[in-house]
């Protein structure tokens, strides 16, 4: 069913569009960067950046961090657009009956549909990561394994994030609503990540603060995961102005919390799906 889902995503054209957009970004990077003839600088659209030290780090590391940061949101958002329709399309009247009459349990139908969708995007992300990593290696001589690992973590983050979109797809049976609620959750996740500096100050109440904390821990920590994924490349020099918290070392905890909450959401969604009439 996962293979069927990936094939369907390709045939729908949305995944091909996603792949094409990713390749445009890759081509853009390939065109933009090159090493200076003497190897002392990196040229970005012809502008020279000292290769050795830029804000305390190498130019390649700096560029990889900025590239990963700026493209991650786009990759995630476009990924949601590319595959969010796969679950609602399965639930349309006249189509749901066809799927549900086949000898597959609803749990495996839902999970394989969801994982098929996420794997399709995750494979795309890894492909782009590999190409950009190779570009930096070939053009600048920098083979940064941290970048590859970072992109792997972004792909994992997408799998966890998609649990929210998959569940809202089941509840609303609408691609549009699922996308909107998915984006809303993204912003909620960002707000929860910085709740101490932001949301806490809206109301000085212990119950309110504990509720925000609970929400933070029971939902996938999108911002936390992406932030930590970037740290696998290096510490973003621009984060220094945000204080010591922002420049902390990589921690796996957001991934573990998100894994647990995404598992719970997928389990809840599968249970809900198995009880519904179509």
């Amino acid at each position: 069913m996962m293979v069927v889902t990936i094939r369907e995503a390709i045939l729908r054209g949305t995944l091909i569009f996603y792949f094409a957009v990713g390749n445009i970004i890759v081509a853009f990077v390939a065109f933009a960067i090159k090493a200076s003839p003497d190897g002392s600088a990196v040229l970005v659209f012809g502008n020279s950046i000292p290769a050795k030290s830029l804000m305390g780090m190498s130019a390649a590391d700096f560029l990889l961090i900025q590239l990963q940061r700026s493209s991650t949101s786009a990759i995630m958002f476009l990924g949601i657009f590319a595959v969010a329709g796969l679950i609602p399309s399965m639930l349309e009247k006249g189509t749901a009956e066809l799927y549900l009459s086949k000898p597959l349990s609803r749990t495996s139908l839902f999970l394989s549909r969801s994982f098929g969708a996420t794997i399709a995007i995750a494979l795309n992300i890894l492909y782009f990561a590999l190409v950009i990593w190779a570009l930096f290696g070939i053009k600048l001589g920098v083979w940064h394994s941290g970048f590859l690992l970072s992109c792997l973590m972004v792909a994992v983050a997408f799998v966890f994030y998609f649990s929210v979109v998959a569940f809202t797809s089941l509840l609303t049976r609408s691609q549009g609503f699922a996308i909107m609620l998915g984006f809303l959750f993204w912003f909620l996740s960002s707000a929860l990540e910085t709740r101490v500096l932001g949301l806490y100050k809206l109301w000085d109440n212990v119950i309110y603060h504990r509720t925000l904390d609970t929400l933070y821990y029971v939902t996938p920590q999108i911002s936390g995961m992406l932030e930590n994924a970037t740290r696998l490349i290096g510490k973003n020099p621009f984060d220094r102005m945000l204080g010591p918290q922002a420049t902390a070392d990589f921690t796996i905890m957001p991934f573990i919390y998100s894994f647990l909450s995404a598992s719970a959401i997928y389990a809840l969604a599968a249970r809900y799906f198995s009880k519904q009439d179509y």
Binding site: M1, V3, V4, R7, E8, L11, R12, G13, S89, E92, K93, G94, T95, A96, E97, L98, Y99, L100, S101, K102, P103, L104, S105, K275, D277, Y278
Partner: protein
């Protein structure tokens, strides 16, 4: 041997967030379908026919009652392994071709590779879509989609085939072809469960039927039981029916209908029929023919629904 058995199956739908509206789609439905028969479930729109089939295939869940298909309780995957289903108003991904559609749904049945492709091609040929198999289905007509649906339902060589309004939107030639496919399947030993409101279609192919109205089963029987000849006759005359003759006949029969040269009577016994014939002769009118009248399934269906049973 019963392939499908239900006991007191009921389904109540609830809708609305605060004030929940209740719709009783099925009320205490007990039915059985025997192996190898073509069973027709008849009823007007909204009678509960589709809900009944969906429950058997675990697409919807019964509120109360029990059911077994192939002696398995509902929900068992082995049931759906042996079943084919053509839903009403089925909808396929529009970006697929006919062949791709069958490959997709064949995969869900666990079929793979060359064997699946050959099977899909053969089925498309069987339903008359050979020349259309590589055309995207968004270009298909309603009748072609119905044929594709038939092919999809046959992918796993089902032992039990559920068809919900299979000839809906299909032209007369296509209907005949679908009937022929169903007859072939019956010969091969398949059991067919047909939901329809096209009574003439059902009458042509079904062994047994059940009439469902407002979620309740009103009647179950073979076509010949339901349409058995009653003491109803059509008398063709060579003269015009006179008022006096009509008055004599009306005094002795349960029901009379007269056109200029045709008299339809429902009599309590054959003696009364002969008395009527005598009266006609006494009036000097020649009798051309006397034909016992067999009720059609449609006659019976309308009569049952109009009598208000089940409401």
């Amino acid at each position: 041997m019963s392939i499908v058995q239900t006991q007191g199956l009921s389904k109540t739908f609830r809708s609305g967030l605060i004030k929940k509206a209740r719709v009783e789609a099925l009320k205490d439905v007990s039915l059985s379908v025997e192996a190898g028969e073509i069973f027709g479930l008849l009823g007007p729109n909204g009678a509960g026919k589709t809900t009944f089939v969906k429950i058997l295939l675990s697409i919807a869940h019964a509120t109360t009652g029990e059911a077994q298909v192939f002696d398995h309780a509902l929900g068992a995957l082995s049931i759906r392994q042996k079943c084919g289903y053509l839903p009403e108003n089925h909808r396929y991904p529009q970006f697929l071709t006919g062949l791709q559609t069958l490959l997709l749904f064949g995969n869900l049945h666990g079929l793979k590779g060359r064997a699946l492709k050959q099977k899909a091609q053969a089925l498309l040929e069987r339903v008359g879509l050979k020349d259309w198999m590589n055309v995207k289905i968004k270009r298909y007509s309603k009748g072609m989609l119905q044929r594709l649906g038939m092919a999809q339902a046959l992918l796993n060589d089902p032992e039990l085939l559920f068809l919900d309004e299979p000839t809906d939107g299909v032209d007369p030639v296509g209907r005949k072809e679908i009937r022929d496919v169903l007859k072939d399947l019956k010969v091969q030993g398949a059991t067919i469960f047909l939901n329809s409101h096209l009574l003439s279609e059902v009458e042509l192919i079904c062994d047994r039927v059940a009439i469902l109205n407002k979620g309740q089963v009103l009647k179950v029987g073979t076509i010949s039981e339901i349409t058995a000849p009653q003491l109803e006759y059509e008398i063709q005359l060579e003269g015009t029916v006179t008022e006096r003759l009509l008055a004599i006949i009306k005094s002795s029969v349960a029901e009379t209908h007269a056109d200029a040269r045709v008299l339809r009577v429902t009599v309590p016994d054959k003696l009364v029929l002969n008395q009527i014939l005598d009266s006609i002769r006494k009036e000097g009118i020649l009798i051309e023919s006397v034909m016992p009248r067999r009720a059609t399934l449609e006659d019976y269906f309308i009569k049952v629904l109009q009598s208000g049973e089940g409401s």
